[in-house]
């Protein structure tokens, strides 16, 4: 698998402030990667370093095979970036904005690419209008079109749905899914954990340094195992005891008339649990998985990091 982004101990300091501390990640081609962290965690700084906008103060990074700080021109040619603010020229039309950036990216078929992305994002009919008259959602979509004009291999999206209404957010998310299917490598920097959960193959929880790195599902599993909820006609201690006696069950408890079971692999062990419960006379009405929010995972790592920092300060 080709690695599209590689960082080895990538660091960035602003004076005494260590914004990014020895970040080491590998992002394969075609992956949607989420960078999560609180404000000031260094997410934007990381994206800026990987976009060759600012230089690292330590370590090294490679994007699309080019080294940050040494092949910046090549990196900029091969990446697209959606910055935190859309940043469009308000007095120019949507079409003129894109034409300008297309020429900066040395795009060969400027009119063709503009039409392709404006149509894709539903802005073709508004192409002659000044961008200053656009809503925030339209500007955001236009900024996404700008990031894609030159068909970059890697796309950095900083808060892609920030400030958008639900309809526009959905459109942007669907568009990101389309880009994923087209094989682009996408790095999303977001505070929207629900969005990260839906879009990202893997996430990095980050607060100056890396706190966790894996797929959302694996992180949930690592922290909480998997929890199956049995909705029974009558949940009682007998059924709980039978289930908990199974060696593969980590925990079984009763809550609100339901039997809640924590185990490693529900796909393999659920049939056996159902069989045992039915044998014991349980009337099973519904079985579902209790899905932990990514927010729980995120807060677990971020709070643990904060507590650790506080302890270090006290010591």
């Amino acid at each position: 698998m080709t690695e599209m982004i590689v960082t080895n101990n990538l660091s960035k300091s602003f004076g005494d402030n260590l914004a990014v501390d020895k970040l080491s990640i590998l992002i394969p081609a075609g992956e949607v990667f989420g960078l999560l962290g609180p404000n000031g965690a260094g997410k934007t700084t990381t994206i800026r370093m990987l976009s060759s906008l600012i230089g690292p103060t330590g370590g090294e990074a490679f994007v699309a095979g080019f080294e940050v700080g040494k092949n910046d021109y090549d990196i900029r040619k091969n990446i697209g970036i959606l910055t935190e603010a859309p940043g469009m020229y308000d007095r120019l039309s949507a079409e003129r904005n894109l034409a300008f950036f297309a020429s900066m990216y040395e795009v060969k078929d400027v009119p063709g690419q503009i039409e392709k992305y404006l149509r894709m994002l539903g802005l073709w009919d508004r192409r002659k209008e000044e961008v200053g008259k656009f809503s925030k959602g339209m500007k955001q979509k236009l900024a996404i079109a700008r990031a894609l004009l030159h068909e970059p291999q890697v796309l950095f999206l900083d808060e892609p749905t920030s400030g958008l209404d639900p309809e526009a957010s959905l459109l942007v998310r669907e568009f990101i899914q389309e880009l994923r299917h087209a094989g682009r490598t996408i790095v999303i920097c977001t505070h929207n954990l629900n969005e990260a959960d839906r879009l990202c193959d893997r996430i990095a929880v980050f607060k100056s340094h890396l706190l966790a790195l894996d797929s959302p599902a694996n992180l949930r599993r690592q922290l909480y195992g998997r929890t199956v909820v049995f909705h029974l006609a009558e949940a009682n201690e007998k059924f709980r005891g039978v289930v908990e006696a199974k060696e593969f069950v980590q925990e079984a408890k009763l809550a609100e008339g339901k039997l809640i079971v924590t185990l490693d692999d529900p796909e393999i062990h659920n049939p056996e649990l159902i069989r045992v419960l039915v044998e014991q006379g349980a009337e099973i009405r519904f079985v579902g998985e209790l899905r932990r929010k990514l927010e729980d995972v995120y807060l677990h790592f971020v709070n643990a990091s904060s507590n650790s920092e506080n302890n270090n300060e006290h010591n």
Partner: protein, 266 residues
Amino acid sequence: MNTTKIWEIMKKEWGEVFKNKIVLFAVAFMPILFTVLPLYILYSTQGGGDIAQAFSAAEEMPSEFAAVCGSLTGSDCTQFFLVSQFIILFLMMPIIIPVTIASYSIVGEKTTRTLEPLLATPLTTLELLAGKAFAAVTPALVVTWLSYIVFMVGTSIIASTAVFLKLLEPVWLLAIFGLGPLLSVAGVSIAVMISSRVNDPRIAEQLSSLVVLPLLALFMGQSFGLVTVNETVIIWIALILLVLDAGMLYFATQLFQRETILTRWK
């Protein structure tokens, strides 16, 4: 250096900046004022005026006026002397207009948050600054030279042939077509340097406008008879500006640090 990118930046600048009323006012109003004012003075002194009458009454012209006017008659000398004071105005245009444009175009990129996506493109700092600088200098020079042409056409109609020919002397042509571009480059370099460090277009413009002070001093000096603007003075100023421009352009490019601009600006 990619000239296509520079040209695209220039076109974008003009499309964006000239929709700004403050910039438009600076580019349009000043040339009109600086062209109409000398023409009005020429028109109002057509009859000669008091100075001309005084010259006529005197047996000979004072030596200072004779040095400036040469063989012109008293009335023509009056016109030429007054109008020649305004040569400096035609030198202010190429410096004030680009300073206004450059101040808005660079700080404007910061305020509209377009600088980051622009710097993320494969565009070199030199290409970016060249595009910005040419976008500021070109209209300033075009407007200055057009104003001068309008002024000369007006002079040919209002003033005598002798005054008109006097205004076509090398000192004027050297100032307008030689000194003008050098002053524009100086103005833009200073505007770029200041714009790289401040976040408000108005502050950038106000600070950059201070570059006009040496010209004002020259204007005052000429008006009070302390300095006579002749070929030698113009050539010296041009030579000094040539050296200063080279140095300032270098420093402007060095001061435009992408990282500093992106990370300091909030």
